[in-house]
Amino acid sequence: MSSTPSQPGQPAESTTLLSVQDLQVEYRTRRGAVKAVDHVSFDVSKNEVFGLAGESGCGKSTAAHAIIRILKPPAYITGGKVMFMGHDVRQMNDMELRRFRWRHVAIVFQSAMNALNPVLSVGNQIKDVLRAHTNMKPDETHERALELLRVVGIDTKRLGSYPHQLSGGMRQRAVIAIALALNPEMVIMDEPTTALDVVVQKQILQEIRQLKDEFGFSILFITHDLSLLVEFSDRIGIMYAGELVETAPSQEIFNSPRHPYTHRLMNSFPTIWGARQELLGIPGSPPDLITPPSGCRFHPRCELALADGTCKQVRPMLIDVSSKHRAACHLVEQQLAVQKETVP
């Protein structure tokens, strides 16, 4: 791979695969409802890699799980729409949902050790998917399972191995093989490489990229590691305290982040291309989502918060900065207004 930060290849096709609109998810706890995902909207196009980033607890994983409706109580979807290829996922009944999952959208979890059933062989866990969704005969599922192992770079002799007999990297590959079993249109990757060491991490990301180009699926990539995301994805959404605060092509996020939080986030990680600036970190901690801050949720930690109290009182909306770049910040709003005035 070259040293430039991002290589979005061809511009993504404009056909929208997944469209999330005003998604709301609540955790119902004894202390009250936690608005873990609050009016989040984004689209993912065919063949695109869309990254969701933010601190842990910002709701990015919850949002992803809500898309294929695998939230567990006390988490509930309380509003919004999830459209996938024109079908409303929230309206699906159990049968439709079962068919929709994995055939169209598969998911790869953070920790492969916990994502694999310890008492079933890897082969059986792949075949399980095939048996549940297709009418393949045993020798066909066997062939397909071997093929999938080859695709993700696991020795086919490992088909009968159990998870504990595999290394961390191999387990993650096995989980990816399971995800690709039915050639889904989209794979959700929830921190797929966080538990791995850096070398294996880079290897696997590279392989995911190749697989994506080969099979042509979209990826919704979730991570707290923004630098990794900038390298890996075409577009990025930044979440803070349950809200989407900025979306833009990776290059733009990297070169000209507009939201103060994104700015901070960019500076709080070492990039793979060497320290661009000194690492700043973000003062304060993410807010309590049972009683989130009024106005802009980032305002208590934001050093640029407007002195007139707008940030504290008024909730900013996502507005277009450019055709592909949107941000939710009063400051950005003011700047744009000034630009408009000066350039009539």
Binding site: K72, P74, G309, K312
Partner: protein
């Protein structure tokens, strides 16, 4: 300045919640734990006030013949009489003392043994741990009740307290193993490592770092041991392996069985003592479920879904 931070000077309200430490507040709010505590305390009071609730004649005590044989419950004898004409109510009330004191006494010995063996094994590690673990596992796998029956066969009609002692000596393995694994977890934690580096002596680490961090486990093991002793002591007395003249719930049941109470349908001789054992066992088990739920909220029934 407009944006001045408001400092709310709320007067702290004095509520039960503020007065209790958090774990105790959780306990008070747990319905299972509270129901269990209520039942248990009732029995403790009955045991303490036994001489006032059911005064005993000077000679013969609770086993003295005071009425006709197998009288059904009435105003005079609330729980009826036995085949020997003894007052079942008096026997049950005074049996409470025996059962509770044997249970809590032997249960306490058991938990002390558990703490000593479990923590030593878990903290020392190495050969000591290997040997003690082997001992624990062997005692765990040997069938407890037959062993105790055999021992009481040799002792020949032991009283309730001797039975309690035998139970204490033979039944520490399970709790010890539970405490050992918890000790292992805590021993490998950072604050213990820090204490070690700071040069604290082992006994201080054990007493002030490890023990306080497994207090809920110790308490629930202790309660488990008490239930076990109460049930098993009653069982052995019921089998007639204890002293048949003792006043205890198990002994009452032994006499009921021996006097063909089932055949003569004298239900009042075996229902009240049995119910008392069951209620005490039940109350302690409830308290333990409560403690479990407080320390592991996932286990609560009827939530989610």
């Amino acid at each position: 300045m407009e944006n001045q931070v408001e400092i709310k000077t709320q007067r702290p309200r004095v509520t039960l919640r503020n007065l209790l430490p958090e774990w105790l507040w959780g306990f008070v709010r747990n319905p299972k734990a509270m129901l269990g505590t209520f039942i248990l305390l009732s029995f403790v009071f009955i045991g303490l006030l036994a001489p006032d609730i059911a005064p005993l004649p000077e000679r013969g005590g609770a086993n003295r013949m005071v009425g006709r044989p197998h009288q059904a419950p009435d105003d005079e004898f609330w729980f009826g009489t036995t085949r020997q004409g003894q007052d079942v109510f008096k026997q049950v009330v005074h049996g409470t003392r025996t059962s509770l004191s044997v249970g809590f006494g032997a249960g306490t010995i058991i938990i002390i043994l558990c703490i000593i063996v479990g923590i030593t094994s878990g903290y020392m590690g190495g050969l000591v741990d290997e040997l003690l673990s082997l001992l624990m596992n062997v005692f765990l796998v040997l069938p407890g009740l037959p062993l105790v029956i055999v021992i009481s066969g040799w002792v020949d009609q032991p009283g309730p307290y001797t039975i309690g002692l035998v139970l204490a000596v033979t039944s520490w393995a399970y709790g010890a193993r539970v405490l050992r694994s918890q000790t292992l977890v805590i021993r490998n934690s950072e604050f213990v490592a820090a204490a070690r580096v700071a040069g604290e002596p082992s006994w201080r680490i054990v007493l002030f770092e490890i023990l306080p961090n497994m207090i809920s486990l110790v308490v629930s093991s202790w309660i488990g041991a008490v239930v076990f002793v109460i049930l098993t002591e009653a069982t052995l007395s019921f089998l007639g392996l204890g002293n048949p003249n003792a006043v205890s719930w198990g002994t009452s049941l032994y006499w009921a069985q021996n006097n063909q109470a089932l055949l003569t349908r004298a239900w009042w001789t075996f229902v009240p003592p049995g119910l008392c054992i069951a209620l005490v066992g039940f109350s302690l088990t409830l308290i333990n479920y409560g403690i479990d739920e407080i320390s592991n909220p996932r286990l609560r029934s009827g939530e989610g879904g």
